[in-house]
């Protein structure tokens, strides 16, 4: 790669930014508030990839970039680097999730039933041209009303289909953290799951889809997709009392592989898993499939941890792509001169 230093152009750069802002229109607190209210799924995608749960700031990033998602993710990632890390929340325990949607494609009679929750999955994909009011709540299932829904995988475990889930006592500060240590391969599972949680939705989908479409060696079944609220539990620094500082939207997915020889040669199922801040089902289904695929030892790139995790990092991928817009005059000139067979005479790059 060869770059060339450039001077001048300051006025043009200022005018370029001013033109951008004029075309975008005014930005005020009201717009940010409306975006926060109206586009929760877009904010969730942004916060998941930005690895920062802050709906107000995600809405601001969206407004400031005119909805350019890679730029908005970059703004969130950059902002987080300016803040101190006050500490680690208490580990989020699956059983404590306040679940609003939990479905399984593995079998219909899952413990707790199929709970559709807020979704358009079964609705016609039609544009509605009339204004729409939020429909009134119609409830009637009070007897079974609980936000604590059991885990399908626990049923598999009770029936000897899945290996037990051992407790992991690692305290927060000792969990591998790719924001503080480089990602090396093979990555610790904790880093793999962290990378998937902040991965680019489109990138994960592309590689996950490659797996689903036939480049993969597994044909997984969605064991569970879960949308939930999670309490962010902190410790009082003086008294040690544990309390919730509030709730975040959190989602996770599991996919089941086919039966494979397990420990002792007994056939067992395996689970792929992914979770993220915010609700983002398509990313999690694809990411959980990639998690399962990356353990299969197949040579295809979409099965390879290094390939998958390196190429689904949104800030690195987006940033590297757009860096090609910067002057590459020397690169091109050297190419041109090599083609013309006169590489020695370069007077002015």
């Amino acid at each position: 790669m060869a770059y060339v230093a450039a001077r001048g152009g300051e006025e043009a750069i200022q005018q370029a930014e001013a033109l951008y802002r004029r075309l975008l229109g005014p930005l005020d607190a009201g717009l940010v508030r409306r975006l926060e209210q109206a586009l929760p799924y877009l904010l969730d995608r942004l916060m998941g990839e930005g690895s920062l749960y802050a709906p107000e700031l995600a809405a601001l990033a969206l407004a400031q970039t005119g909805g350019d998602l890679y730029e908005a993710v970059l703004l969130l990632r950059a902002y987080r680097t300016t803040l101190p890390r006050l500490g680690y929340a208490e580990p989020l325990e699956p059983e404590a999730l306040l679940t609003v949607r939990r479905i399984s494609a593995a079998f219909k009679d899952i413990p707790g039933g199929q709970v559709l929750g807020p979704t358009l999955d079964y609705s016609h994909r039609l544009l509605h041209f009339e204004p729409q009011e939020a429909p009134p709540a119609r409830t009637g299932a009070e007897a079974q009303a609980s936000l604590h829904l059991p885990f399908v995988a626990d049923w598999h475990r009770q029936n000897g289909l899945l290996a037990p889930r051992p407790p992991d006592p690692t305290p927060g500060p000792e969990i591998p953290d790719l924001t503080r240590e480089p990602l090396l391969f093979p990555a610790p599972r904790a880093q793999r799951l962290q990378a998937l949680s902040r991965a680019d939705t489109g990138g994960v989908l592309a590689l996950g889809y490659a797996n689903m479409r036939g480049y993969g060696a597994i044909h997984p079944t969605v064991n569970e997709v879960r949308l939930a609220y999670a309490e962010v539990r902190l410790r009082h620094p003086v008294t040690g009392a544990v309390f919730s500082a509030g709730r975040v939207r959190y989602s996770q997915a599991e996919v089941l592989t086919k039966f494979r020889p397990g420990p002792g040669g007994k056939p067992a199922l395996e689970l792929g898993f992914a979770a993220t801040l915010g609700w983002n089902e398509v990313k999690l289904i694809a990411a959980a499939m990639l998690d399962a695929a990356m353990d299969q030892g197949e040579p295809h790139p979409a099965h390879t941890e290094e390939f998958v995790l390196s190429h689904t990092e949104p800030v690195e991928a987006g940033g590297f792509c757009i860096h090609y817009k910067l002057p590459h005059y020397v690169t091109f000139l050297s190419n041109l001169l090599a083609h013309q067979g006169q590489p020695e005479e370069v007077e002015d790059a």
Binding site: T179, P237, T239
Partner: protein
């Protein structure tokens, strides 16, 4: 309920309370609390890292960071603390003042009544959400 559990409960309820109403409530209490010496020790925004659990293999991993506002105050002989989601420093400060006042037993009746009223409102909101979610439970037919 142990003292730590009681404190954990009030801090959680207050963190979820509507911020503007909460600030107004604390504003009204300040004249009664200030004679005991109110000192702000810390009031800042920052991040807390959220560890989560992989339900496939049990691995703990870091799912991302959460923006919080936190505050530490001293009131009389007690140190109050609060953290709440977002970056509203006044909201965190208001909760920390209530935390210190409850530990110190100052204006405890009024504050407890406020906490209980909020707790009831939040419990009803959760119950209503649970009812609405339960209404989406289906029995699938396969053929």
């Amino acid at each position: 309920m142990s003292p730590a559990e009681a404190q954990g409960r009030w801090l959680g309820v207050l963190a979820r309370a509507e911020a503007e109403a909460l600030k107004e409530f604390v504003e009204g209490l300040l004249p009664a609390l200030e004679p005991y010496g109110l000192e702000v020790l810390e009031n800042r925004t920052g991040l807390v890292m959220l560890p989560a659990t992989d339900t496939a293999r049990g691995t703990r991993f870091l799912v991302g960071e959460v923006l919080v506002a936190e505050a530490r105050v001293r009131l009389g002989g007690s140190e109050g603390y609060a953290a709440c989601l977002g970056r509203d420093l006044e909201q965190a400060l208001a909760i920390a003042i209530l935390d210190a006042a409850l530990q110190e037993g100052l204006e405890a009746g009024r504050i407890r009544a406020y906490v209980e009223q909020e707790a009831a409102r939040q419990a009803e909101a959760d119950a209503e959400l649970a009812r609405q979610v339960a209404a989406t439970r289906v029995e699938m037919e396969t053929f």
